[in-house]
Symmetry: none
Subunit: 241 residues, 2 copies
Amino acid sequence: MSTDAHILIVDDDRDIRDLLSRFLRKNGYRISAAADGNEMKHILETARIDLIVLDRVMPGSDGLSLCRELRATSRTPVILLTLLGGDTDRIIGLEIGADDYLAKPFNPHELLARIKSVLRRVSDLPLQSSLQKSPVLSFGGWKLDRSRRYLESPVGVLVSLTDGEFDLLLAFAERPQVILSREQLLDLSRGRSAAAFDRSIDMQITRLRRKIEADPEQPEIIKTVRNKGYVFTSEVTGAAE
Amino acid sequence: MSTDAHILIVDDDRDIRDLLSRFLRKNGYRISAAADGNEMKHILETARIDLIVLDRVMPGSDGLSLCRELRATSRTPVILLTLLGGDTDRIIGLEIGADDYLAKPFNPHELLARIKSVLRRVSDLPLQSSLQKSPVLSFGGWKLDRSRRYLESPVGVLVSLTDGEFDLLLAFAERPQVILSREQLLDLSRGRSAAAFDRSIDMQITRLRRKIEADPEQPEIIKTVRNKGYVFTSEVTGAAE
DNA sequence: AGAATTTTGTAACAGCACGTAACATTGCCC
DNA sequence: GGGCAATGTTACGTGCTGTTACAAAATTCT
């Protein structure tokens, strides 16, 4: 799990450091904190850090420059915290190479979500390697053509999938037997992270099941795993034919 | 890299000119500066400028008119600096044809981000180098003659394209398999940047598809990528025959 | 077991992106 | 100036996606 990752918080404000440290520790992360660029560098030299949460404004060294420096030397992911929520800042942040960006004041849960998302993006999800390059994936008679982006049913009829349905199905078919959370699916199929009460994946699953399951009420291919997400249970081969 | 681009700063305030010059030089750009419209024109005639940072208010010649003039003669991108941050200004700025817009006072880093963004939009577009000089581009039987500006169909009929259609098709054919946003296409084919609710590219695509797609409702050559833009999906060769 | 709570399925609706017809505008030629 | 061709704008239809609300199912609590 991504829990167990080591996060470094860099902020000159002691209260924020403490608050975030406690909050993130409670959520299963190992935490270090630094008050400025020097401390940060010191910690980076002595510990293996998986992600850095960096305040943009700090007396002495500015978060942006630190971030730029970091980017030059390592590829440890960075989430930048900044005061104003202007678009401009976002642009700058991402320009500089931050992996994500959060405007203060923010909800700690939001930070948590971003952290998860960034770590997930970085560490990447298992992908059955034999399926990596084959242009056509087959499962239970179905054929999913990656390059042409269509799905052929067992009896040879082309089933029209919307882009979103196709992307979701592909995310599954590339990772058979792996339980994928809604968050992971959102990330894989839409490239975004979940908002609160986000049910979009549920809906997309429903729609997909209507097209590929013999009985959408008793799904055989994409099964629900309560409290976890969904699994693609068919065996998948990269066979061309 | 876009670093190494040559930027012209036009502002009547010496301090600002110097500040920006130093700052941008430090970030790897070649800089020229002008105090008014005349100096600007002089420099434009003697050097190859990649981007202009233009102050809106200047004694003598107003930045807006200068910008409008510029647009009439060249497609060098312009970032406009203005005092008030009103929406109105933004709209005016972009209508006039500025590529971006920044309200004073601004953070130099912000300007840097905009500059990078504009330059990227304009020049960083991948262009399949082998196609760069060949006078005739071939794809799926079609032949696009760059120098004579005509298109020949697979059966050898000349298809008459308007200038705009030709420019758009060329922008695509030089970058096969690359997803191009409407903004990029506008820039590549018309040399201007998008206004709000700009659908002109959509229309031009529709018109182009009518001329080159077998079935304009099921386009095979120029495909739509939802939320992103369009892609030219045919393979392109620079071969003459 | 039955009640309360959580989680999932899904209908209904809202919003946006895209295609495109029809109209407006622009620039050009006679 | 009037007519024309090219291009841009507006308006509307369509399809896809996400949100909300509620029903159904699974789980936990008593």
